[in-house]
Symmetry: D3
Subunit: 61 residues, 6 copies
Amino acid sequence: MPYVTVKMLEGRSDEQKKSLVEKVTDAVSETTGAPKANITVFIEEMSKNHYAVGGVRASDK
Amino acid sequence: MPYVTVKMLEGRSDEQKKSLVEKVTDAVSETTGAPKANITVFIEEMSKNHYAVGGVRASDK
Amino acid sequence: MPYVTVKMLEGRSDEQKKSLVEKVTDAVSETTGAPKANITVFIEEMSKNHYAVGGVRASDK
Amino acid sequence: MPYVTVKMLEGRSDEQKKSLVEKVTDAVSETTGAPKANITVFIEEMSKNHYAVGGVRASDK
Amino acid sequence: MPYVTVKMLEGRSDEQKKSLVEKVTDAVSETTGAPKANITVFIEEMSKNHYAVGGVRASDK
Amino acid sequence: MPYVTVKMLEGRSDEQKKSLVEKVTDAVSETTGAPKANITVFIEEMSKNHYAVGGVRASDK
């Protein structure tokens, strides 16, 4: 605890994802007081045809 | 806001998904009063071996 | 199937929520071909201090 | 109702997943009193580079 | 790992919830081979006016 | 995009939550390159009787 889920479009590099989970874990630990070892991060990727804002998918822009 | 997630078995065509996000966005805007530009829709697909009702997966029927 | 989750700030009336689930169910049925009886809708409400865009919570605006 | 989601690293066999949904459905039915036919189970798999504990992804260990 | 979420209508007793997490943890451990200590269970409750099947909320039946 | 959900036990102060969403937004922006204005953070709180590790709820320890 806490459990963090980051949902984003696919396309980030593996290096970016590695850095993402490190920095997010630091930010959560620093602000909640939870030890880093207790913090879990999940990345969920979505494709452009499965994500829409205002009724228009990212793949249709 | 609002954020809508539609979870369904894989297999719908891209045209169906495009229409789905359009119509769902319209329905949410009309009933909540939120402007369409503020409404986000996510589609999540699952495979038949990852979905079960009554303890039986769709892939085992 | 499908399963739809609508996540939004608290404050909509019960009448709006009733209409929301009806219209969303119609939209999903019409575009995916799923019978209405097979469609599930969940509403999830969040409070203004638990929702932030751009690092600023709705409660801090 | 209820709806159960099991999120885990990819790699389990299809036989394990079949058994997983059967046993989880039984456990939920037995303890909540819900008929098995009303219980839904979703499996969500994640890859090792999308899952981190303590800021370190399973793929970086 | 694994992480299990059980989403259900409010109304179960605390004793039922205690039993639910015990039995579900056992079922997941037995079928996936994960040690019980590594298994997390979340319960999410919903109210009857936030849950609909076939476009009709549980609170409107 | 991205959308971040932080799920944790209830009990953090409002000041901690405010700081949490700020720092997490910074961390996500810095590592993914997404503008801060495009990043959404949701906080989800759970009570101790709805959260279990190893089959034992936090409320039963």
